[in-house]
Amino acid sequence: MTFEQIKKNAIAEWEAFENNEKPRIYVGTATCGCSSGALDLIEKIHAELEQNHIEATVIEVGCIGCCYAEPLVDIAKRGRPRISYNNVTPEIISALITDYLINDNPRPDLALCTIGEGEISGIPDISDLPMFKPQVRIALRNCGYVDPENINHYIARDGYSGLIRALKMTSEEVIEEISKSGLRGRGGAGFSTGTKWRFCYNASGDEKYLICNADEGDPGAFMDRALLESDPHSVLEGMLIGAYAIGASHGYIYIRSEYPLAIDRLRTALEQMGKYQLLGDDILGTGFNFNIEIKEGAGAFVCGEETAMIQSIEGKRGMPYPRPPFPATSGLWGKPTNINNVETWSNVSAILQKSAEWYAGYGTEQSKGTKTFALAGKVVRTGLIEVPMGITLRQIVYDIGGGIQDDKEFKAVQTGGPSGGCLPVSTLDLPVDYENLAAAGSIVGSGGMIVTDSDTCMVDLARYFLSFTQAESCGKCVPCREGTMQMLKILTDITEGNGKPEDIDLLLELSEAIKLASLCALGGTAPNPVLTTIRYFLEEYESHIYKKQCPAKACKELISFYILPGKCQGCLICKRNCPVDAIAGDKRMIHLIDQNKCIKCGVCLEVCPSRFNAVTKVSGEQMITPKELISVGSWEKL
């Protein structure tokens, strides 16, 4: 079959699917959907359909990005847009099947938005939602729209047309196209993709390798996983284009083993490519050969670094080695190797499908195109977003994210994970691109974006990241291995109330040395969370050191829980729930916490009925409480 025939069939299948008499029900079953109960919903849908004798097509799609609203179920009737329903429960399924499918009431009260052409009164279109309005979806173009296990869906939406275009160009022309688009690596460092390809293309050697970096090590980021789970072919097409451009015949996808669903969907996708002659020998009869193999990581953050990844694929301990030689000249098995991130590959296929000029039309002077972010933490609308470079942090946090939960105060947004930094209110109007975030002390990074509020302690957050990098340091070079250990020790001392005035200078000095002298970027960037928090939140460090006080009331050693004698009603709930029996009290007697026994787990605060609100958390204060048990009501009299 020629590709034209394949595409014709795919389009026919897609149209038949969209124009079918039967209603279509889409369920988002990426990891976020599944963990909110999407799989149970599918069973429920089938049961309800059967019970009501309705025929419908139920399909599983990937993640549209509204993680806060999961599980999402969309229903489309012929000739009408999809209606997306959020936070769906089994009861809502029953209601929707009766109301919309049988009685044709689309239930605007339960709906989030419509997707696709057409209007339904009372329900906004997806592009009008505040969360989606500022977004531009290039890497995530198909996520939530196609069945990730059906290659025909991808092909019907212009998939693999980028490869077809590339195959008609010379290698150099393809590299030139990528250079012109201005695409920079989305894995963290932001190096020009076209330049990187050219290095590898120019390297001598008849055998070259290509690697897709799907290790996604930032502990609070899930862009690559969502993309691979929702639209694996966009990444695979990018890899084919890259392989053709640099002349590689073998490719690897290095993916974390914690991503079983993504691995599964990649396997299915590779099989389907093979059937269509899009993989293997003589791809589409053009004489171009390329194979892809999946390598599962084994749980080491440092393996996201290029040279460590190469070691790991070779079956060794994943320890980085000094460059040069760069992987582009001597990488896997000593052969020229090109490594790009998942999102980079998906952008590559989009650029070849459309054009370099189109892509470069988005973004800023130095940073073209779009970037995906995993928006999480204390914002109202958490999820996976894709925005043009140059958008401000304020737009991301407030317009897309809907602001801070429970109307609390914004404190900082953390970008770049353990290699990045915390950006305070004063940076909210900064346009997000590689240069601006670097100047502010952070990095764009791979796309983790965690919003924090007044309950998050910045010193503790810095300690958290250092504990991560310290544990993940491979141990090969001294500055990283010993330096992160010392920094962690100092930070732990500060959060435990044992900080000394000279600690801040010592942290700055250590940071400088570690940045300069580490072998790889793991150590080279590890001090960033500490440096930015010292730069923007020095007063929090000083509070901990001089006043032994944690302003956010987060550091366990510096907080105490008290039962307010004027409010306690002697209901025994906290006493019963205290895991260490630190609460004394009787029915209608004012309860007392034994501060020596208390482990500060916060259970009493959590379980105290909100109508009493009798438990309080303080830092650096002592409260006066009764010396012994007295009856409720007698405290004020004393």
Partner: protein, 172 residues
């Protein structure tokens, strides 16, 4: 056993599972027969053996070492580098508490503290009756529902310290 190893060494892998059964633990052999005897397969072999056995026993390390012709020392050196590999028998129920960034800022550490105290074990350990094992992980990708705790395949989201106790009760 020795004869079998000779056989293995000399025959590039055309032994059937049936033949192997009598000689060595079939589980390991069943896994090894899927691979060629090439050092680059070390990590995938370790992963598959652990999947079959639940952990990497001293015997399986020996077996892998012979199969790939890599010293036991080397096998350990690679296996111990990666967080995924365990060398002791895991618990019947594996509890994973997320300490990714989103979960951290929403109190993941307090959840871990509570589970540690309830079970009286640290991450990486197993209760003495092998009922529970505890692990800390970085991000399940359900950051929107943080803090997250997973028991076996079941994801519990928006966990609170008081809730952890109830969740554990379900498995006791």
């Amino acid at each position: 056993m020795k004869a079998f190893r000779e056989y293995f060494k000399n025959n590039r892998f055309n032994i059937t599972c049936g033949e192997a059964k009598e000689i060595v633990d079939t589980k390991i052999i069943g896994v090894l027969v899927q691979f060629t005897r090439d050092r680059r397969n070390l990590i995938p072999v370790l992963q598959k053996v652990q999947e079959a056995e639940g952990y990497l026993s001293a015997e399986s390390i020996t077996e892998i070492s012979h199969f790939l012709d890599v010293s036991e020392n080397d096998v350990y050196s690679v296996a111990s580098f990666y967080a995924q590999f365990r060398f002791t028998r895991p618990g019947d129920h594996i509890i994973k508490v997320c300490l990714g960034t989103a979960c951290h800022v929403r109190g993941g550490e307090r959840i871990l503290d509570n589970v540690e105290r309830e079970l009286d074990i640290q991450p990486g350990q197993t209760t003495s009756d092998y009922k529970f094992g505890l692990e800390r992980v970085a991000c399940f990708g359900c950051c929107a529902l943080a803090p997250v705790m997973v028991v076996d395949q079941n994801v519990y989201s928006r966990v609170t310290p008081a809730k952890t106790k109830k969740i554990l009760e379900l498995y006791k």
